[in-house]
Each structure stands twice: as structure tokens, then as C-alpha cells.
Symmetry: C2
Subunit: 376 residues, 2 copies
Amino acid sequence: MTKMFGYKINHRDGKARSGIVSTARGEIRTPAFMPVGTAATVKAMMPESVAATGADILLGNTYHLMLRPGADRMERLGGLHKFMNWSGPILTDSGGFQVMSLAGLRKLTEEGVKFKSHIDGSEHFLSPETSIEIQRQLGSDIVMCFDECPALPADEKRVSDSMQMSMRWAARSKQAFGNRPKHALFGIQQGGVTKHLREESAKALRDIDFDGYAIGGLAVGEGQVAMFDVLDYAPGQLPDDKPRYLMGVGKPDDIVGAVQRGVDMFDCVLPSRSGRNGQALTRMGAINIKNARHRDDPRPLDPECACPACSNYSRAYLHHVFKANEIISSMLMTWHNLHYYQELMAGLRGAIDVGKLDDFVADFHAKRADGDLEPI
Amino acid sequence: MTKMFGYKINHRDGKARSGIVSTARGEIRTPAFMPVGTAATVKAMMPESVAATGADILLGNTYHLMLRPGADRMERLGGLHKFMNWSGPILTDSGGFQVMSLAGLRKLTEEGVKFKSHIDGSEHFLSPETSIEIQRQLGSDIVMCFDECPALPADEKRVSDSMQMSMRWAARSKQAFGNRPKHALFGIQQGGVTKHLREESAKALRDIDFDGYAIGGLAVGEGQVAMFDVLDYAPGQLPDDKPRYLMGVGKPDDIVGAVQRGVDMFDCVLPSRSGRNGQALTRMGAINIKNARHRDDPRPLDPECACPACSNYSRAYLHHVFKANEIISSMLMTWHNLHYYQELMAGLRGAIDVGKLDDFVADFHAKRADGDLEPI
């Protein structure tokens, strides 16, 4: 059976690329933003609404799903797609990043990580082999290697040791994944903010050979300047003909800068989490809807936005339902934010397609500088 | 200008009637169930989804809306319909019932009721005149008279005195309402469970002359047997050619029994509140989705229900998202319950249209007795 996964670059503009990732469950237009569906739901959204914003693919969290509802149960029930009513592609993380965040509740060895559930304290074990198996049970289309990374700043020895173990884990992940023509496995580059470690990691991954390559270990406290410094070289260390995925990023200007530097895929909880917290992300900046100045404002969040929140509701309404703790507040604000993110991605793709990315980025920054809104 | 409000009875079956209430904002098919949109939102639902369940009209709560966002603000913003993106008819209660429930926070006189806001303790005053004015500011299509009623059981003197004051308030409400051709004013019958008081109240209301008549003061602790005893005669005391609205009712079998007794309109928080609490209401009975027995169940709530929750999700999924406190739990469960209520109303209307209400009701009770679900 031939591999039902591929990446075709349609246009280039500087280091940026636009293209199509093909999967057995449909195409992903790149550069792509993947909304996060942590616990088998993009919080406060119906999946058909997520699709309506323009999302081609969702991200699921192995750590959360293995604990609840559980991987065996998910497999019995027919997999994550059917369970959550999402027929398009799903990428799952390996659980590694979230397990590492459980300070005090975990024990890390070469074999893997023992940890306790944050829900009920029960003991679990994740390793390259178990993570890949759980992702298979979930039915993930794009499976991520099990890896670990230190929070930054960290000394070079710590970053190097961690990266080298992640590369051994990458080889074990590939071995465990085996030959699955309808599914893809992505390796994850580590190495912190140290160029030669990033190159060492990239070489190890290229030797193993993956369907796509993630840039991991960023957006963990280093700041945008340091992140962009890494992104000035890291994407180029990875194969040109495979999709590149910057994990856990980010704010709109992080994404724009990363696309300029050759990244194709992104995920972040920011738009959905901000929405639930009453922060609207717009072309002009952020609107904190809980602020009393909005309570008589008949204007939409963004008059040029076509999302349901902007088409049908005033800032006054959004202020009211946020203050009244109404669920529709989370529904509308999340919808707007995800719509804005997908419009941004569509704008980036369109600009790359016509070789006008620099103009697009200049306009992006000008709009944000223009208004009286808060920076995102 | 001729009155843009009317009621046309299309069919009768025993005491039951099916018909159309016409308003300036559209038609209401009766018997009708009105979902409750307390604070300018039917909780956890987009208004277009509420319409998709088959709802022709929503209910808004004057008490909640006058406190937040406030009646003056609502008027400045163009009224409740525009504010909450609902273009169909809206009925507003008078605030009376909810103010009376504020034990200790209110002071009742012939003039009206002084009370303190449950939100910030600020002082407010509601009377027939102020309630009608606030309902005008909200833009309500069907305005309710300001009234009060005792919780049952209560002695006859208390019920009689309260009813008589409510009738004086009804006359003041009518006076305050004036001549508004695009809007309707409903009187509210009181009198507890005492037939001659109900008749005295009905006569007072008929003398004043309203666009429709509500039966108030029921579902306040008297139980279904006593309520049906009253409904055996109360609808017949009200004009035959005007819509009759049983306020705050109720469970599916309350509604079925009331329709058989000649009631045309209903409202209740039960389907939406139950949904948020994880209780699905179905033709066969109630499903408490938090129960662990559902966690591996691939079946929908009701295989014959066409709502999005039943079409696309298993009980296992609904159990999972309820346990994980995901917002989509409230969204899907509320949607199902409102869909079920509207299907029930459509079934009642269709049965009346063809003179088969008794068969419909027998089938309704048989289905509930049949299954292994909990009674609603």
C-alpha cells in the first residue's frame, strides 16, 4: 500500500512556503493553524463550527485522553474522530510535554516517565512505545514522537543530554510506529536555543526519516526574540520537502514571524483560552470585554470580521454575557478568536501564493500599531 | 393602525386547540413551548440553534434584565431582540414572580414592590407602571401584567387578598400599556386552587379585556394532581378566542395534560437547566448522563431523535464531556432537551390537527412506561 500522506509545496516566498499536506482523512492547507481539542472537544465549540472557521485539522492531547476517557475505551468506541464527531485529520501530541509539566508527580528514566494522574492520582507510565500505541488507539492521523525538553533557560549540558535522550526516543518511536500507510509520524527537533545542538538533533531525525518534522522546545520561556533567533536557522536544518510544525505557538505575531522563517504548521490554546477569559484577539489588537467601557458600545468586536460574534452581536452584548457568566460568552468569544486565527492563516497563504508576504506582514504590523487596542 | 396581534384556532380536539398566534414579529404555532432566555440568552445555545429546534418565541425575564444590563441601556442599544440576535417574538414576564421569591429582600405595598438586587444589593421598585415601562424598553412583543401570588398551600383569605390586588394591578397594567398596536398585553388569572376565586379573577380580567390570558399561581408547590384539578376548569373561565398561557410549566406530562385541558402556551427552565445538570429528557424517560453506566455506551441518547447530540454523539461521549466539565456538555444536552420539547409540541399540534390527541397521549404515556429509564 502506498503512503497516503504527503506534502506538496505550491508556492514559495522567501523562506515561506504554502502548500497542501495530504492525509487519508483530507487535505491540510499550509501554513495551517490547528485548534486544540484537549479532552475530545475544542472547548465551547461544536466541531462543525470549528470547521466553519476554516480549520482543516485539530490537535488532541494524548495525556488528557489516556487518563479520561482512556485509550482502551476510546479504541473500543471507534477512535477519537468518531467519538468527538470530527471527520478531518487529527494530530496528537505524545503526552511527553504535559507529563514533564507535572513537577513532583513524575519520575523520568531512559525507559520513559512514571507519573500520577492529576485527576485521581492513579499511576501511569509513558514511553516511546506506550505513547505511540495510545496514539494508534486514538486513531491519530499524525502521530508525534515521544520526547522531553527542559524549560528555558537551562544549561547546555542539560539541554544536550535531554535532546540526545529524545533522539534515542525518536528512534524507538519510529520502531514502535512500524509501517502504517494511512498514518504519519513526525519527529521533534530539540536542542534549546543552541544552534549546534539543533543541528545535531536535526541530523539524528533526518537519519531516522520521518513524514514530517516538528520544532520542539520553544515557547517555553525564552521569549520571542530568542525564539526567532532559533527559527532563523532551525527550519533550514530540517528537510525542505516535508512539513515543519512549530509546537505550541503562538500569538499572531509569533505565527507570522515563524511563517516568514519557513514553518508550515502551528497549534496553540491561546485563541480558545483567551476567548473563555473574555479576551478577543483582533487584527487591531486585543479587546478585554470585561472592561466596563464596553457596556454601552454598540459596535462589534471587529467590523470587518465575518464571524457570528462580529456579525450579530455588539461589544455591549459580549460584555453583558461575560459579566453574567453566560456560556454563550465562551461560545462567541472562542468562535471569534478561532475565526481570526484562521483568517490570518488564509491571509498568509494567499500572500505567499502571490509572492506578497512582505507586504502582508507590513500591513499586519501597521494595523496593530494603528488602533487604540491593547497589544496581544 | 389595526392590531398586529391575533389568535386563530385551526383545529379542536376535546378541550385542546391548535392554532396560530400572529405577532408583528412572526407567527407562533400553538400549543407552543417558549424556551427561557433569562439574561438575554437561552443558556448554552446560539439563538439560531434554538430556532432550529422549532421554537417560534422566547421568554425573557424582566427582573434579570432590568438589573443587568438594565432597561435604559437595553433601550439605548435597540432593544432585547437586536441585543440577543433573536428576530422572532419575545414574551417577557413582569418581574413580579421573581421579585416575590426574594424573601427578606422585598417590601410589598398596594403601590408595588421595593426590593434589593441579588447582584449588588442596590434598591429597585417594581409596580404595574414601572414593569410595563421596562417591558416596553426591552421591546417585548407579549407583555405580561404585573401581579403577585402566594406559594401554595396558603389560606383562602391570603389567596383572595393577593388575587384581588393582582386584579387591581391588572387594571393599572392595562392603563399603563395604553394603545400599542404592534404589541400584546396578557392578563394573569390568580386564585390558587380555589374555583370561585379563579372565576372571580377571570371575570375581572375579562372585564378589563386583554390580548391573551395567562393562568398564574400554579406550579408553585401544589403538585400535578391539584394543578390538573384547577386546569379542569380554569381555561374554560377564560375567553375561548384568546391564547391561554400556563406560566412556568413544566415537565412533559404536565404540558401534555394541560394541552388536553385547553392550554396553548408554556414556558419552563426545566429542559435547559436539566441539560446543564446532565439530565437528558427523552420520550422514554430521563437519562442521568453522569452515571458511570454510560461511559462505554456507544448508543445515542435516543436513536429516534434527530438533534445534533443524538445524531452525532454517543452516551459515552456525553458522559465523558460532562465528567470533564466541558462546555459542549451543556451545549449538546440543552440542545437535545429543547429539541425534545419542541418535538413534543409538534406532536401535540399534529395530533390535535387530525383529531387524534387521545391516541397521541396514550402513546406518550406508554413509551415512558416501556423503557428502563428514570421517570421525568
